[in-house]
């Protein structure tokens, strides 16, 4: 059945939290809040290789900058899950990070993957024991009532890192507008040297310098539903981390576009273009690495695809650097 969603996005985190924000404050543009983020969520581990954190971490910081608390409640028991149902009974919409393996509507991962998938729950009906499940994902859009019992395995079975999340607006918060500090923070996250996570340029340089090791990690990763997201090694996390980072940049481009459109920032088409192109190139790199990971060594396309990785990374590096410099300039102008 064709449905006509008002809002969808290909990042389940961004889509669900945007829906949660919309439920709380329908007039707030989600790009203004969720897009105000350029964190890679990546660090170099002791072995010198990349490790990625869950995108909830940087998104929680992003929401905090705008006066919201993204309050996370880990779920490992049915009692933990009961907390989400209590919130729903009180009329609070919540997001859940659920084990995709048990989400019947999520055909992409149902019975095949234990990756976390984030959706929104609201409108609990005690009589029927159902809740409205909104999945604003671009390829799986779903907005129907489901039995709460149907969600229990997705939240309580295994240790996939399940959680329920509520959005709490601080009562005295005002509209967050970009100032010199916030613009410089974005600049540093794109092309600086020190923050909670490595910058975008550092991430790309790390990929570029150890490309063969990362390709090996991707090609030797386990397939299908082996283990939960918590158990995954470098290969799957790298693909997931790059997927998230490309979304972060895509939303940052949307954020800058929104600020330019409402006159808050000077229109800088080159800045927005640089962020968007970096996002695009990193997605291509990520997807090519995934393809290379399953191709046989004698496939004649391997050399073509491998040959594309470094130029794409170099282009991303240049664009991230350009965008970081442009944001630093804007920060100076705001000072």
């Amino acid at each position: 059945m064709t449905q006509a969603p008002l809002f969808t996005d290909s990042s389940c985190y961004h889509a669900a939290f945007a829906a949660l924000l919309h439920a709380a404050e329908p007039h707030t543009d989600p790009f203004l809040v969720l897009g105000n983020n350029a964190a890679t969520a990546a660090r170099l581990a002791d072995d010198g290789l990349l490790r990625f954190s869950d995108p909830l971490e940087p998104l929680t910081s992003t929401f905090a900058r705008h006066g919201y608390e993204l309050r996370q409640h880990p779920v490992t028991t049915r009692e933990d899950w009961q907390g989400a149902l209590d919130a729903l009974r009180r009329g609070t919409a919540v997001a859940i990070a659920a084990d995709a393996f048990h989400l019947e509507h999520y055909w992409v991962g149902y019975r095949t993957s234990h990756a976390l998938h984030v959706v929104v729950l609201r409108d609990y009906d005690e009589t029927s024991g159902t809740v409205r499940l909104l999945d604003p994902g671009e390829v799986v859009f779903f907005d129907e009532r489901v039995a709460v019992d149907q969600l229990t395995p997705a939240m309580c079975e295994g240790r996939a890192g399940q959680a329920w999340i509520q959005l709490v607006a601080h009562p005295d918060r005002g509209p967050a507008r970009p100032d010199s500090i916030s613009l410089m923070s974005l600049s540093q996250a794109l092309s600086g040297t020190g923050s909670a996570w490595m910058s975008g340029t550092s991430l790309v340089e790390a990929l570029h310098s150890d490309l063969d090791r990362y390709l090996e990690a991707v090609s030797s990763r386990p397939r299908a539903a082996d283990g939960t997201q918590q158990d995954w090694g470098l290969g799957p996390w790298l693909l997931l981390g790059l997927w998230w980072y490309h979304h972060t940049l895509r939303w940052l481009a949307g954020h800058l576009g929104t600020l330019a459109a409402d006159g808050t920032l000077p229109g800088r088409a080159d800045l927005i273009e640089a962020v968007d192109r970096a996002s695009r190139d990193l997605l291509v790199v990520r997807n090519l690495m995934m393809r290379l990971g399953v191709m046989s060594a004698d496939d004649k396309r391997s050399a073509t695809f491998r040959g594309q990785l470094r130029p794409r990374l170099e282009q991303a590096l240049e664009n991230l650097s350009t965008a970081g410099t442009a944001l630093a300039t804007l920060a100076e102008e705001k000072r």
């Binding site: 969808t8 290909s10 390829v139 396309r301 073509t304 594309q308």
Partner: protein, 200 residues
């Protein structure tokens, strides 16, 4: 199924020699790579008249290559054409795609090249992400293993590229991005006249 209109004077480029991927599937046929390399496919039976408009092979969905997964192929035109634009029908896989085609004036390359940005939504996107429009739409997907999946509705998207000034094109080089699936390309001739083209 629905299609958006290609301009009446558009000339379809023969992609036959370059097709390298089977993204459509007929009922009961063993899945090939599909759009995403995992076998997810657009039901050939849902394409209707769009298959003819795209010049797709008669045995569509039976494992024959039906689209160009971009690996840097060069589309050499019969003779250089003065163009006012291009229409590209296809889709992205593994996300949306925004790529650049290289247009050169001569069939052997060389000369000033022009670039055309082609942006297509993912084959599973429910709405256009760019300025592209829906060209064809299926009510279900063949998921991995050829399993019909009613929760997904694959689409082909049409990207209309218009040039600010006419330009001469003798060949088109596709990017290296196998997640850009080109199913149809149309050339939009510019009226011949004194405003002769210079590629820029």
């Amino acid at each position: 199924m629905s299609t958006s209109t290609i301009p009446a004077d558009a000339v379809r480029v023969d992609l036959g020699p370059h097709r390298n991927n089977a993204a459509f599937l007929a009922p009961g046929v063993e899945p090939a790579d599909g759009f995403d390399g995992f076998g997810r496919a657009y039901p050939a039976s849902e394409l209707g008249g769009a298959a003819d408009a795209l010049g797709l092979p008669g045995d569509l969905g039976h494992g024959v290559a039906d689209n160009v997964a971009c690996e840097g192929q060069v589309l050499v035109l019969g003779e250089p054409v003065l163009l006012r634009g291009l229409d590209v029908v296809g889709a992205g896989s593994g996300g949306t795609v925004s790529e650049t085609l290289l247009l050169e004036p001569g069939p052997d390359g060389g000369g000033p090249a022009a670039r055309a940005r082609v942006e297509l939504s993912d084959f599973l996107s429910r709405r256009p992400v760019f300025d592209d429009t829906c060209f064809a739409h299926s009510s279900f997907l063949y998921d991995v293993g050829g399993r019909p999946e009613s929760g997904a509705e694959p689409r082909l998207w049409r990207c209309a590229v218009r040039f600010p000034q006419p330009l001469t094109c003798g060949r088109i080089t596709l990017p290296v991005n196998p997640d850009l699936h080109v199913v149809g390309v149309w050339l939009l001739p510019a009226p011949a006249g004194p405003e002769a083209a210079t590629n820029r």
